[in-house]
Symmetry: C2
Subunit: 236 residues, 2 copies
DNA sequence: GACCTCACTTGAACACGTTCAAAATCAAGC
DNA sequence: GCTTGATTTTGAACGTGTTCAAGTGAGGTC
């Protein structure tokens, strides 16, 4: 239960010797993961390739899993960079959601081969890599903010009381697509793209319909549920 | 990529010497997992406690992870046994869903400590332990069938075309609760029980509302989506 | 009884992630 | 240049999951 954030003080001393060593290690690691997979890449091999000792790698990264965090950060950062330009000109909510989802699939595509191994570790709640963990807060919030942008740029009117939970819900939607993608072994993960395309307009329609009077109580309850269990009380 | 089903030929020769050894190992393992957690329980310790050699444990179970399958099977079996009697007298769909969910939480409760490890495996698409995998078909179908019973015993009318996908959807609902439970570190996992209680009537209401004319196209599309992506094309 | 077969069992050996005490290097003050 | 303390680096050693060549023994065949 330690709360040091070894891996996020990257900005502490920009290019001290230590910082350069750290970079060398993480880059070597990600390269090797992409090339021969997570399990097949040993810490000894990473250390050797990076020209340091095993112990030294552990001086900078608490565990092998912590090396993966680099991938997660890289992915969400690129997602945040790439999506806005894709959103330009797109007016409907459905189009915008679809664009955001497909952008993610594009970015993560090259890593699909070792995504399974990545997710295996991410799914462990005790792992610092879990998308719900403390350590992932930064990446996660960046991604949720992206969906706020998706919503705000569209013409669809959103019930006031739902406005601030919707980004989180769209992010959850993305997580579902990602989950499917991890399991997707169709060539080029085309099925996942298809899922994104078909699922986006549906999500948009749900948002639009949430204003119907008959659905009011249901929506209200759902909203409270998300607020109580996902946002305020989030465990771990 | 071998497809032997070592762990499911349990019924092959009911009480041969080997079968008894296998039982001894799995029982010892589950006991020890529940008592001191998955990671803290070494294969050497299991073997010693069961009175066999390490290699012998590996003769019956391909890996330490495969021992967990025993937990999954045991849990779904007990869930199927316990739930029906809890359903008696319960008429509304909400009550029935809640009963099924709470029953699951009761059964899984003692194993919460090592549930994270279990889920870590469930999340790996390549693992035979994934709830979506071939090897888990039996347990999963048993659980889905349970929800068919939940539905059929209630007074709520269900649109004909949705009747056969609804059990699968309620099972998915359960998986969401289970996911929350895995991450839940509140004392006694009380938050998960609360989630089940609040979520059950909501699910029931959604089922009921799905008959509304205005929602018809949305529901239809959703149904097709589930059918296309979850049932027929399920990957891996 | 000798021989064979094959399910079952053994435990030493291996590869890996991880730890740690100690060494080496560096930075700063004098 | 020397001292001192912090930072960085080392590699042997530990505990773990897993493998495997070799062994055991109960039953069948001649």
């Amino acid at each position: 239960m330690s709360f040091e954030a070894e891996s996020s003080d990257a900005s502490a001393r920009p290019s001290s010797k230590g910082e350069r060593t750290r970079q060398r290690i993480i880059e070597t690691a990600l390269d090797m993961f992409a090339e021969r997979g997570y399990d097949k890449t040993t810490m000894r091999a990473i250390a050797a390739e990076a020209g340091v000792s095993v112990g030294n790698a552990y001086y900078y990264f608490k565990s092998k899993e912590h090396l993966i965090q680099g991938f997660y950060e890289q992915a969400t950062t690129r997602h945040a960079e790439l999506t806005p330009q894709l959103l330009e000109g797109k007016q409907t909510l459905a189009e915008r959601i679809e664009a955001a989802l497909l952008a993610w699939l594009d970015i993560a595509g090259p890593y699909h081969a070792f995504a399974g191994q990545f997710f295996r570790n991410a799914a462990d709640p005790a792992s610092p890599l879990s998308p719900f963990s403390e350590e992932s807060t930064e990446s996660r919030d960046r991604d949720i903010a992206l969906y706020r942008e998706v919503l705000e740029g569209s013409k669809t009117k959103v019930p006031a009381d739902m406005a601030d939970i919707l980004p989180e819900m769209l992010w959850l939607h993305q997580m579902v697509v990602v989950l499917y993608w991890v399991y997707d072994n169709s060539p080029g993960q085309e099925q996942s793209r298809e899922l994104a395309r078909r699922t986006a307009p549906l999500a948009a329609r749900v948002v639009a319909l949430s204003r119907l009077k008959i659905l009011r109580p249901l929506v209200k309850q759902g909203e409270e549920l998300v607020r109580d269990f996902l946002i305020t009380r989030r465990p771990a």
